[in-house]
């Protein structure tokens, strides 16, 4: 017999009075939150040394559910806020968890420049191919041909390949998983958290409510089955070759893992030089 319980082992990291959370049945965001909490649990990260920042959107709610210092910024501004936190207090682990629309549309410039400067933060970008919270509009990651409320005849715009953007802008760690790869995702988050510099993980997640039902996957389970049948792991591949296209396999894996001095390192170095003079 299964046993009835009232508390979950991850409740210690959650604002448990807010659970059940607001996300739709089968929404991938709960899996991302769970994977993140298990990663900090396994790494035994001190919650006093962890800050989670998010922007606006369904993903933006993640920060509010985690029982640590968390901040829900204005639309697109999670990364500049996180940059300030990290520079003011380099002891902190600073993580941005936000959606594709927030990070790559209105927040796109912040993303590329934080990667370019190699700010020592981890960005988890949840990509569900549309603006879920506001009713399923087209965004910069909507695949070519996909139907959304603002592209009823199919999207005519070429989407960003987020991992390629991150790599080209200079991120030291780049990986992509779907929410079905929950265990690999958790392990990847652990790696990214331990990595010095700008690390980026793209998580492909189902949004059955506003995206899936307009794209022949009305049930979250349809999308999860699609991930099972059509994703292939290709570690180390050039992210430029990992575009996301309708009807094609989803390439996942760890694409980039390099070392480079961080912005904090450069600031310290500069301070030493200036003091010598």
């Amino acid at each position: 017999m299964e046993i009835n319980a009232t508390q979950h082992p991850m409740d210690k990291y959650l604002r448990a009075d807010r659970i059940p959370h607001i996300w739709c049945p089968g929404c991938g965001l709960g899996i991302v939150l769970n994977a993140f909490l298990r990663a900090i649990d396994e790494l035994k990260i001190d919650l006093d040394k962890l800050a989670v920042v998010s922007g606006i959107g369904c993903t933006g709610r993640i920060a509010g559910y985690i029982n640590t210092d968390s901040y829900h910024t204005t639309h697109g501004r999670a990364i500049p806020f996180a940059t300030g936190l990290k520079l003011a207090n380099p002891e902190m682990k600073v993580v941005v968890i936000s959606g594709d629309g927030d990070l790559f549309a209105i927040g796109g410039n912040h993303f590329i420049h934080a990667a370019r400067r190699n700010i020592d933060i981890t960005v988890i970008g949840v990509n569900n191919y549309n603006y879920g919270m506001t009713g399923g509009q087209l965004g910069p990651t909507t695949p070519l041909g996909a139907r959304t409320t603002t592209s009823p005849y199919g999207n005519i715009e070429h989407p960003f390949n987020l991992c390629h953007v991150a790599h080209a802008a200079g991120a030291v760690y780049v990986a992509r998983w779907t929410v079905l790869h929950a265990v690999r995702l958790k392990n990847s988050i652990k790696e990214a958290l331990q990595k010095k510099g700008f690390s980026f993980i793209e998580v492909i997640a189902a949004c059955p409510t506003t995206y899936g039902r307009r794209n022949k996957m009305p049930d979250a389970l349809d999308e999860m089955r699609f991930y099972r049948e059509h994703s292939v792991i290709k570690h180390g591949i050039d992210p430029a070759e990992a575009n996301i296209e309708i009807g094609k396999e989803i390439i996942v894996g760890k694409f980039v893992d390099i070392e480079k001095p961080t912005f904090n390192d450069a600031v310290e170095e500069l301070k030493r030089k200036v003091k010598k003079k």
């Binding site: 299964e2 089968g26 899996i31 769970n34 979250a220």
Partner: protein
């Protein structure tokens, strides 16, 4: 397989815990359990969803892999592993 050192094999099972009122009936735990030990129950929770339950036939079939607790988006299911020393197979 026989090794030159005789080792006791541990038999690992899982105990499945369900927080019924958190379940939103996405069906992930049922679909992706590698042992197929979960199914949808008939009962309704507070929000009108049917939470999962264990298939009655084989209580010990759950091997405690923990995939259900990784894939549940709602913090509604978790597993505790139990090890039994069954001796050599």
């Amino acid at each position: 397989m026989t090794y030159w050192v005789e080792e006791k094999e541990k038999n690992v099972h899982g105990r499945v815990y369900i927080i019924k009122d958190r379940c939103k009936q996405c069906g992930f735990c049922i679909e992706f359990c590698p042992q197929g030990v979960l199914k949808q129950s008939e009962e309704f929770n507070a929000k009108g969803y049917h939470p999962p339950k264990l298939v009655e036939t084989d209580e010990k079939k759950c091997m405690g892999c923990g995939f259900c607790q990784m894939i549940c988006p709602d913090f509604a299911i978790f597993v505790e592993r139990e090890e039994e020393e069954d001796g050599k197979k």
